[in-house]
Symmetry: C2
Subunit: 412 residues, 2 copies
Amino acid sequence: MNTLFGNAAVGQSGGPTAAINATLAGVIRGFRENLHGGCIKTLYGMRNGVEGLLEERLIDLGGLLSSEDRLTMLEHTPAAALGSCRKKLPDIKKDPGFYERLLGIFKKYDIRYFFYIGGNDSMDTVAKLSEYTGSHEYDMRIIGIPKTIDNDLVGTDHTPGFGSAAKYIATTVQEIIRDCAVYTTKAVTIVEIMGRDAGWLTASAALGRAVNGVGPDLIYLPERPFSMERFFEDLRRAHEKHPDVVVAVSEGIRYDDGRYVCEGASGRGVDVFGHKALSGTGKVLEFAVKDELGCKVRSIELNLPQRCAAHIASAADIEEAVSVGREAVAAAAGGVTRQMMTIERVSTTPYKYRIGHADVSEIANKVRKVNPEFINDEGNNVTDACVEYLLPLIVGQTHPVFDRGIPVHIIV
Amino acid sequence: MNTLFGNAAVGQSGGPTAAINATLAGVIRGFRENLHGGCIKTLYGMRNGVEGLLEERLIDLGGLLSSEDRLTMLEHTPAAALGSCRKKLPDIKKDPGFYERLLGIFKKYDIRYFFYIGGNDSMDTVAKLSEYTGSHEYDMRIIGIPKTIDNDLVGTDHTPGFGSAAKYIATTVQEIIRDCAVYTTKAVTIVEIMGRDAGWLTASAALGRAVNGVGPDLIYLPERPFSMERFFEDLRRAHEKHPDVVVAVSEGIRYDDGRYVCEGASGRGVDVFGHKALSGTGKVLEFAVKDELGCKVRSIELNLPQRCAAHIASAADIEEAVSVGREAVAAAAGGVTRQMMTIERVSTTPYKYRIGHADVSEIANKVRKVNPEFINDEGNNVTDACVEYLLPLIVGQTHPVFDRGIPVHIIV
């Protein structure tokens, strides 16, 4: 084993999740296990990811090591305790100076281990840093640790953060279905769920059918082109069965010609990665259905709570989020670099997984869409195979500490 | 004691809550306790409140009695298990025939006890039935049981259903505040909370400050006239302290001249009680702030989950919701009629309450607004006295049964 002595830095990047702090806690746990006779001396936390790293806003995470209570509390605190950023790194050839500055900071703090917890865009950062440092003499190990509620990273069975978001969505949609069932008047309730390019989160709305026997009448994912006419037809057929029709729809559904359904509705721009900021799909459908069917129509945008509802986090997800952080440290200490940690599903029944890793350059900027066999032929619901894939990821409840009725959060 | 032998009917009315089924379970428990040597023979459940009663859609609730497990599950199932309605009863003088029909149904089923679980509008139903039957020879006992997330019924310290909604709001707003704190960019996040005329739910957004030391920077209730100019000023001052400003706002805020802030935005109509259907206050503010401050602005409408998020129900609320149902049966059996059950606060520290009752004709169609001393002088936040009043109502977690990660609901 090629032992590399030095310090480590860990950062969080991209959108928050209910599990990204669990992964941070996992990295701290991995570091703690490495401390005695290990190769990593100090573990720095970057404030606001690479944005803070560039400004040398580093904090020594040693303080979090001493208290098991604080680590556990961190595991139950949503969002990114270190802060996050949405910074796209420049092309290496176009702006080598940027990377020289980063390298200067790595040298100044003797940072030899770089752990970056994030999603698709953050893996772009990890891939670029891997490429740059790989072609320089500064010996360094760079590991991406997956995190995204969207579950759309390739090379891994699923991503930490997804299970908790899926559990929140499944639970909330069940509650909404019960709420909508109380009246006898004909109505349509449209639940808009996050997911720009992949429908994993929206598919999770179906999970209650395995337990309570009910789910949304209709589910539309971005993997299939959306047709307003077919949607109206689907609604009419659903109303033949019962008056309270509930629809789950991904914010990212598009028409056949590639236009987002929400386009035109919200005049919002694009983010730094060039992605369109979507919102308003539910509203667009609400108004269209009101015009067409004339019945009571309501739309509900689940919005931010999808990514920060730690109070209903999945115990399975939090456990994996910790594991993947801890294993990242062990892997790096063992010589692994330029990889993203992965979760491999060993079996579904009973559910078993193991932590692995894969070349990050093969992962960045790709999108893992919902498997075709997980969507029904009509393209308006998910299959039982999909429910079977998803269910193990939401199992188990976490037990955050409550004080006077409210979950206690740690502020780092 | 004037013993009255006969059957009982219980109905649920108005908007669902996370606790209205707990009250139904309480009525069933009260009936069960009355069974041996008591005066009530059969307990009917009305499907969809008086709407179903008129169609004689009655079910014998005896089946729910036998299983403690099913009763407990009912206590953790959100929305209205019997179904609900939003039916406004006609004026007695204008449509006596309507009441004669109802009386005929009461006689047909020998219904001598009428329990109606609902909010403001449902107490109007209870008051009218009380008035009508009081002037006829059919001996009957009529009891309203309070339920509303809005907490706006007079004559009671608070209403069952409110505590669970408040706990959901407090928890979710805390999570949103953590989510918004991760970036360094100047931003405003506006959380729109239910409450047409009273700001109790919106005030609950502040509760996290007692536990986590943080709450919304600004809170606007319908009790104070809203000024867009003052709002912009408040935001500017808040941005001097930190970039991630979070605002909690009631859907029902109005300008000085009485116009709702959301008016014009959503062209929605009025409901059967003549109340304007509000929605879009957050969106109106979002666009206004974007224009004025030019920073990133987002609005989040908490929407239906406020009234059906049973997974984060308040144990204190559920306990009281059961008690008030059980006590209603005992009170009616003891001769009480034409009353709404009430919760009297005996002390705040430690929190103690007792169940009482009050004349329903003094309660219907009135609105209990947030106490003036619960709102700060600037009208842009709530006071510590408000937090102190609210906190006991959200204490304790319930423990719904989970199956494969999802709360199990009972469908009656």
